[in-house]
Symmetry: D2
Subunit: 390 residues, 4 copies
């Protein structure tokens, strides 16, 4: 993969809803999509301010007449084009994900959507059925899970190098919301308002990354019971939380600990995962993402570096920069975007065999994230009580 060769039928014609000049997330989508020639950005409704969105889009090389004011305009404007967009990414606040995704799918357009996907599992199920009926793919941008060392961990677990999984310890915290929201920007405001964010703040915003990555590494075990203790240290954020701890009991007897917070004052780079088995542990953190700690009890601790030939094939296959050269978050997004492109390409070719064994964060992954959030909220609302996972 290191050379960036891709074997799609053709580059995908790609559009965006949101992701304009005033936010941070749009660049992540573009840097993920564009570097391999897999996608070509041809259309967009980039901004609530139509004029600003058009300027922005044309600066990026999108034709002026395909810079639309709204997602509805985009759907209408593209409908009859021969070179109609194949796929559109949704990079807007949470509360708009469902309606935009639904409209795009109804218009026959594949969708790539930000997480958390929707507000409820019921909405997820409706979208799943709609996509299935229309033969379309829904991808979800769990951007960190494209890193080659994540797939190294998954491969090591699958090979049994860790033995029986016993403890899962996960943390994604920062301190950017340690102060109150008096002067907060729009991105904070919509995230702390249930009407626009859904039933959670940090659990949905960053906690879902933890949960999905753990599913990628540990597909063989499932949560049976869960307890979520959440709190808003800045009271205006209630009933949403800026701090939460989730304890999980898995069906194999494993114990999970998950911590998500945005009031961890001063904390940087604390997205951490430790998977502990009866034979060994692995630990990965985005504070030094190119290193994987592999620890066998009674032996020297080992540091595995991305791109090295001693890694599992599954990791090397998705390595982009090669050893000694830092993989950034953009490289991870590029893998996610590529895998979704391969799914769309296969869907277009009706290649069900490929799809059956192809891994990418799709509607099921998005649904599981929402389901996990529903269970967390149910526990928290019951007074941080244990609830059966359902």
């Amino acid at each position: 993969m290191i050379n960036g060769e891709r074997t799609l039928m053709r580059p995908l014609r790609w559009g965006m809803v949101g992701g304009g000049r005033t936010g941070q997330v749009g660049y992540k989508h573009r840097t993920g999509a564009l570097r391999d020639g897999t996608y070509q950005l041809v259309a967009g409704a980039f901004d609530l301010d139509a004029q600003r969105g058009r300027e922005f889009g044309t600066n990026l090389g999108v034709a002026s007449d395909r810079c639309y004011a709204t997602y509805q305009d985009l759907i209408a404007g593209e409908a009859d084009r021969e070179d109609k967009v194949d796929v559109v990414s949704v990079a807007t606040p949470n509360f708009t994900h469902f309606e935009i995704t639904k409209a795009l799918l109804q218009a026959g357009i594949h969708v790539i959507c930000e997480k958390p996907l929707f507000f409820t599992v019921a909405e997820c199920d409706e979208i799943r059925d709609l996509a299935s009926k229309n033969g379309l793919i829904v991808g979800v941008t769990y951007g960190f899970t494209g890193h080659p060392l994540v797939h190294q961990m998954a491969a090591m677990v699958a090979k049994g190098l860790l033995g029986d999984i016993r403890i899962i310890d996960m943390q994604y915290t920062h301190g950017f919301n340690a102060g109150d929201d008096t002067n907060a920007g729009d991105a904070v405001k919509w995230r702390t308002n249930p009407a626009t964010a859904g039933s959670t703040f940090v659990l949905g915003d960053i906690g879902t990354h933890l949960y999905y990555l753990s599913e990628v590494v540990l597909p063989h075990i499932k949560v049976e019971r869960l307890l979520c203790d959440r709190k808003a240290f800045i009271p205006t954020r209630a009933p949403l939380e800026d701090h939460a701890t989730v304890l999980m009991h898995y069906d194999n007897g494993a114990r999970g600990r998950l911590w998500s917070s945005s009031v961890n004052a001063g904390n940087m780079g604390s997205q951490r995962y430790r998977f502990i088995g009866s034979k060994a542990s692995v630990e990965w953190s985005d504070s030094h993402p190119d290193q994987l700690l592999y620890e066998v009890q009674g032996e020297p601790n080992r540091i595995l570096h991305h791109g090295m030939s001693y890694l599992e094939d599954e990791s090397l296959a998705v390595d982009r920069m090669g050893a000694l050269h830092t993989e950034g978050l953009g490289d991870s997004w590029a893998n996610i975007y590529l895998w979704i492109a391969q799914a769309i390409d296969a869907r277009m070719r009706d290649d069900d065999a490929f799809l059956a064994s192809h891994h990418y964060p799709g509607i099921e992954a998005g649904t599981e994230g929402v389901r996990w959030l529903e269970n967390c909220v149910r526990s928290a609302d019951a007074g941080a009580a244990w609830v059966d996972y359902k």
Copy 2:
């Protein structure tokens, strides 16, 4: 303090029960006690094997006739000496702490005891009353809390540099018991047997270090509710635990997370503390104990090094090696032993004023550790349920 000058009336005559050749803990006591000339080792019942204990003691310079076979012999043998031991350290398995401490106090001898102190708060209270009646000191060897950067954290909290305390995250884990106990040594066997270890394994063995250190740093907040989820991944250890997570709600609204485990395969140096306030966080770990992380949201993270003049006076006062020179665990024990010696010295001089303001891990600290364990077990036994702290 850096020069090791001590101003006791005279060196204390010191004895040991346990701590002989076959265990690890005795050396920690001796290296803590002897380097400052504060204590002189003059007697001991070092070993269950009397002959081996005598050989050991005489190698250390103890007179042969003061190397006793049992603690009862020690008490009897010292009773009528003019140079009778002032204080005896108890470095034996948990289940013997109470009876030995009680006998020593009854014989008019000050006591320094390993943690966890006793099995129940009721026992602690009985010892407290006995010590008080006899005018004696009971010290507890919470050995990590002598480090100068622990006292830096406490001073920073006291000055308000962290603002309101919000989150306490603590971890003391290792993997030395990741395998089963088929070939385990005595030190594991007595620690995993309720008859000899009490009602906990890792919570008492290492978790109490976390809890006591947090009390030193945060004396102003108290646990109100607590939930303990514990498990024995090696089934033969049940009902004791080799893994536990404790969630705590404090009276100021803070949230605590504590993790203690001895099945964290391969894990080294993971005694970690992070205290998060509304203004800033501090973090300290024994994987690089000479550094303290101080993080103010929105500013560069800071690393404070022990012995530097920018530290608080409370930290510099207990620094032994000076900047650039590593403080080891032995230096921390030396501070603990010194503080207990100062308490004993003051007690001998009836200096109540000194004692009123002198900080050292005494009977109250030991009692609080046992109380915390009782609450943890009560929660765990109720199915990892929330319990009011009492």
Copy 3:
């Protein structure tokens, strides 16, 4: 910059010589060039094997008839096209750089070339004159210098935060050539052969990165004298070196130490820079590139994280991912490619004012790298003697 908006007149039509399936470096060029829509890959002579190169190019979306067998074919084939390539990147072994660059410039095509640029300063001067005469840009891919924290260091030096520069300590080492070359691949073979690599191995291959980055951070001081002690621990590599230490005396009295080696067995991520001034030091390493160490004597050490608002404007302007999100080497290359594109765009527009103040690694940077190598070799050949820099 974070949104990836670019304001060139139009995307540049881009070609490649080399960079095909069997090497690692091509992907770095493409990931640097393509993510912003600044360049469009339209032509290439990717491979010595013409058929393999054509397959490769078409997989990347290049039209089959613009996948050429040789660079001569590329020049000929593009010559009369209306949509002729604007710029071509040269990603081939060192010994071909000069002839390919010269031919491209003669054909009126801008050039982006790998380092070390050419074999001699005389060649560099010839190319500089040719480019100047033809109104063309020559860019050099010093790929690490696009990182925002490199520019933070430069800005801090420029503001005087470090005081007078005293010591420069630099290291770029790895161990990939610790064994002999019996089974070495082509990339090692040409790098250790003077005919194809020029007069140095590791000094040119990785040492020039160190030297150029130091010029970016410290444009105001110059080397006056230099001593280079080099050695081939694998004898077949002689007269080229697999290990070298270079000592430098600067015109302001500063002292430099530079270490470059490819026999540092097992060593990973050791590209390190420390710039020490009379007031403070800064240190940056690609083992954790998102952090910059800033150390003022007598104060706590500080860790600065990329993307944070406390950084200098010069750093934030070139940040791509934003705080908390890892910048990879690809992001750094993307900045380099963008800056070269802006130079080409300005050149096309005859915007001399822009070019006069625009910083990018151009022919001068490439020339200085070659000049430094010439001085190193002169010193080494004189028995690791001090030589005046010229």
Copy 4:
């Protein structure tokens, strides 16, 4: 060793010259000597201020009449005692080492002396002969070389795990002298004055630690040629240096790089050693002294922790705290003091067989340190030229 059992004939009667209240170094000697019961502090001339020295000594438990005003008084006062001191430590400025050591040896007293031992090799030779004639031991406090991981490195080299040694990279730097000496204390003043410090500042003060430790790890290779580039960034320190780089060529073809500086602004914990062989490298730093990096090319990097059973016997034999428990610099000094005590004990018993194979930093080690300094100065004075080592 972990239990601190020692099998000397009897504890050594120990005295000190220097090491009083106003300096830092005395505590290091005492904490090294006293913790094992190997030495008993019975006499001292602790301070130039006799009254202050007496107060200090009696606080430490030394009898008032054995707290002497001068070292001459100490020698005279102890001469006729039955319980005369066996050994005296010299913890005074460099320029006094020779005369005090000579006088003590003439009085039949073993000596433990700070480094750098004396000013010239000639002085060293004179002392060696005197000690030999009088049957006395001279120990030198190279305090860092007692760490168990130093001996792990030596054992790994001896077993051939590193293959042929190729590169030695060493650094001991700090920034405490980054500012000028206007308000410097006595300890800085005598160290920067040739009359009291000898012919070097940082090379003797901290550089000798590097050189001696490398001799412990690599006893089988010797320096053949050397180049020393030194400078005083604070001009008042000239002709002594506050920064020096030393390049070394060894008799097996290895290359050495050594950096010593006290103007590395803000730098903490940068005593680092990397020994690179044809098969593997090891790296140790006092910034995390409990960890040893062991790197085999092409395999995951390994972190070895002190006290773990996978270490070589030579390392475990000198481990004091056991795994998980930090070894401090004091523990390392304790080993050095113990090894010297064992040498003195053997000398007293005329046990030449023991002495023939017993390793400790003695007169030869001290002499080699002075010889190395003489070669460095000779090179520096010749304009940082290569000189043959002699």
